[in-house]
Symmetry: C2
Subunit: 190 residues, 2 copies
């Protein structure tokens, strides 16, 4: 969490964000209300509206700021180890408690809400800048050639987690992480 992200907002900002994320996970994006968030956070709803004019704006700010959704960046000494750790952390984020219900509700809602989707793009872009460090270290170690497409690498791995765990509803165990990473690093062709 950077200083820039944390700056601004009313008093009880942290309580407002926590209440917003809880409401999202509990009620879903459609059903949650600014009024309900205000009541739970112990502020007047006009306080929230003054800073965030819509549910999308409030959730966008809350999600960018949420310690809950931080993905630690691994540094295991090898690209393979780092990517397996990244996949594992993403699996825990999407399926564990308490982050999973928040992350799933937010990502599901973003599919149908362009304003919320726009907020998420900043979230993903910010993640990618930090994930680049994993690739840069692999290049420095001579594991990868320069100019590798980091976004494609991340989209393949994160996408496989999403399809397997969320759309198929199948378990995401350690074997899954290792096999997915092996496929994109080594390829499936003999």
């Amino acid at each position: 969490m950077t200083v820039e992200r944390s700056a601004g907002g009313p008093r009880r900002r942290r309580q407002i964000f926590d209440a917003a994320l809880q409401a999202l996970a509990r009620d879903g994006f459609e059903a949650m209300t600014i009024e309900g968030v205000a009541e739970q956070a112990g502020v007047n709803k006009t306080t929230i509206y003054r800073w965030w004019p819509s549910k999308s704006a409030l959730l966008g700010a809350a999600l960018l700021d949420a310690p809950l959704l931080e993905l630690p960046l691994p540094d295991t000494g090898s690209l393979r180890g780092d990517l397996v750790e990244l996949v594992g952390a993403l699996v825990r984020l999407l399926t564990g408690e308490p982050a999973g219900p928040v992350a799933r509700a937010a990502l599901g809602a973003a599919v149908g809400d362009p304003a919320l989707a726009m907020r998420f793009r900043a979230f993903f872009a910010d993640r990618l800048v930090r994930e680049q460090a994993v690739v840069d270290r692999a290049v420095a170690r001579g594991e990868l050639p320069e100019g590798i497409d980091t976004m494609l690498l991340m989209d393949l791995l994160a996408g496989a987690v999403w399809v397997r765990g969320i759309f198929r509803g199948l378990p995401l165990n350690d074997d899954f992480a290792r096999e997915a990473v092996a496929a994109v690093l080594d390829g499936v062709l003999p």
Copy 2:
């Protein structure tokens, strides 16, 4: 569309399914109503409730039956060609008209609705059985060893389409399809 899928249901089944999918794309899963679908399809709402007791059940049946969401199975003569075609077809399904808004709304809603999600699992499982033919042909041609993990291959590719196009909101052009397929076939390691 198989005979089995089309069997059963009331008269005006096709009109009911079309109205349901249109309502989903137009209003979203939360806001759409069985009453609205019945009115647009020109049937009594009790007719719908008799066959499908909930929005999830109705949409699950409509989605499984929808010609709109059929993905053609390519047979280009090479695994690489087939996979690039599969990715391209998925891109058109998710981002084109008229299927895109229906597919995106349905998949987004499934994230937050376990009953709808369950219906989708049948959809994905059915797709996978048919995608296996692409891999089996590649094994028969000697392009792939036996025992390849078809689900992993599909989850990586379909997942990358989803993350890039829906979560990042970035363009999915022909280069993307070729590069994604090259990554999983050849690997990114030198």
